[in-house]
Symmetry: C2
Subunit: 415 residues, 2 copies
Amino acid sequence: MIGNVIVGQSGGPTAAINASLAGVYHSAKERGAGKVYGMIHGIQGLIEGKYVDLSKYIKDGLDEELLKRTPAAYLGSCRYKMPDAESNPQVYDTIFKLIDKLEISVFIYIGGNDSMDTIQKLSEYGAKIGHACRFVGCPKTIDNDLPLTDHTPGYGSAAKFVATAVKEIVKDTYCLEYSKGLVTIIEIMGRDAGWLTGAAALSKGEDCVGPDMIYLPEVPFSISKFLNKIEKLLKKKPCVVIAVSEGVKNSNGEYICNSGTGAQFTDAFGHKQLTGTASYLSRLVSAEIGAKTRSVELSSLQRAASHCASRMDLIEAFQAGGAAVIEGEKGNTGVMVTFERVSDNPYNSRLAAKDVTQIANGVRHVPVEWINDAGDGVKEEFFTYARPLIRGEVGQITVDGIPRHLPSPVMKEYE
Amino acid sequence: MIGNVIVGQSGGPTAAINASLAGVYHSAKERGAGKVYGMIHGIQGLIEGKYVDLSKYIKDGLDEELLKRTPAAYLGSCRYKMPDAESNPQVYDTIFKLIDKLEISVFIYIGGNDSMDTIQKLSEYGAKIGHACRFVGCPKTIDNDLPLTDHTPGYGSAAKFVATAVKEIVKDTYCLEYSKGLVTIIEIMGRDAGWLTGAAALSKGEDCVGPDMIYLPEVPFSISKFLNKIEKLLKKKPCVVIAVSEGVKNSNGEYICNSGTGAQFTDAFGHKQLTGTASYLSRLVSAEIGAKTRSVELSSLQRAASHCASRMDLIEAFQAGGAAVIEGEKGNTGVMVTFERVSDNPYNSRLAAKDVTQIANGVRHVPVEWINDAGDGVKEEFFTYARPLIRGEVGQITVDGIPRHLPSPVMKEYE
């Protein structure tokens, strides 16, 4: 018997994070779980005693389908770094008392690198005190940078939105710019890894030239090479489109946008919040080349555009949620569900689980061999890797012309 | 007999502008037109002798369907203001010589306020020299600000994207912000008329609280009322979401983004930079209230997001293209196709045509009675008006996970 399950969502949301939540709920119920609880605003809310009985919110199959299509973390998210058990035993005591009170046997956390740190700490603490509760991670991040997994749910939908939006912006640029020369710079999320920025390349095809240059954070960014290439291209064509990661750095390892004007602040994990790379580069091009420029930030829609979700991504996110339940049922703790690719074409991946200690706080980069020699584009290997993950559309459920979502407990009190 | 037809696209594109092009092509062919030509980059390209035979590009019904789903102006656009015939007769001479050479009997221009100025000038010149060619305007603009028509094709799709994106951003904000207070300001296109900004209100529904404040350019923007309301709201809730038109002005008629010294900052190159409205207001809120802020520009996706097109909009855009052909066939010149609303619910509109002299260079505003007394939201009348225009989805035709478009002659040479 699986007993009671609790599930939380953490970190930046994705268009697939609620499909994983639906997967946890569906599998737990199907496997005979008593109660399935949801933490409100992740572990941070749980510490304050905030949780809900999910059966009060997910009442039938239609609710489950709406939940899969609902953007942002349905239960609310948090960016809370667990303290060490030695320095702050009260936090652990609070959490484990709640686990006992709710008779939780499986604790599932849907999140990225930082959230797996939470799973690692809780499972280690549980082992130390001899607690029976299992702690399982369910992967989620648009950045696709979790180690030991072929890819991460959330990435496929974000990549599909980026590829679609970049294609539309490229078309917009070519139709408007006739002869004068316009440089459009599109900024894409992904602080450390270029998986999402690379997805801009997927806009290229038999009906679209795609961006002229794509800059990933994996290789140092050279301003002089960047400007030279633009000048060369503007002699041949009226517009140049560039996709750039928010996290590109120069050869000294300094963020390019640090020379810019974007506001910066540091989050609880010590990460610098970046804005303004495209804006900075636009001004640079304008000042150095004199060309007309436009900068576009794809903004939080990269993680929130459920209306453009990838079917494959939502299917796999749902599967990952279910697999997390099974890992817990099997008695595994301190693990995260992973994907192992079996084949590219036809695409097939196998679910597995790996020790979180090798995942927590780690980063998986785009292989440098997948980036071209000039450092301004991705090779065929990237297309082969990413294409299966963005394939397929999700049937929209719309009311009055816009997508209908499952009403979230987080927003309910402000209605 | 209808003879030969030429069609051009002008001004900022929309997600529906190519559905009108498809409508022109389809109706002209069906009514026995000989050739249907497309101007490359509108009248500007035509003056340089650039045009294509559309039958070489639209080969069958599938091509027509792809064209309807293709973002940006398929034939390329321009922002060219026709000179007066008195001051620059050569331009008119060039155009009418081409009309004679191609044996054009109907000249259709798909565009907004400025494009109707072109139709007016050409039809007046044609009448003056006794030319038989008819000049007909087909309405297009995301701004929805053309006089004498209930609405304009292109608006419905842009409004649907704005409502969908704002809903997703609102959800993203509520899920991430727990207790600290985050003010998100979303900037929306429409310098003079608030139709598109008002569409942010359509995000509100039984599953979403929507934005807290919506500012249209039709009413003066008061910075003190704006700041007071945010402070009041932050006492009750963790996040505040605001939608603002790029064109809001203070009571002196000055654009808010130009008004204060705070609007300007010096960039890394020592140049004073003018920021956008949302970016300026974010800095203001941060400085005056001390709240964390985020500004989002929905960018050119507002006019290019074909992947989120409204079915009603695409149907009506196609109909408008066809109606323009019929106007020309009937011998009417100097007119633009318009929509007259028959009823809101069930929604029904009737096609008509009006004299362009009353449309060219004019602006139709959101009625002030549709804006609430506080000047920070829209009333039920706006919902009743806008909802029918965003209803219905367009079946996607995707290849490798992203929308397939009809390859444009404008981009072909750069492949």
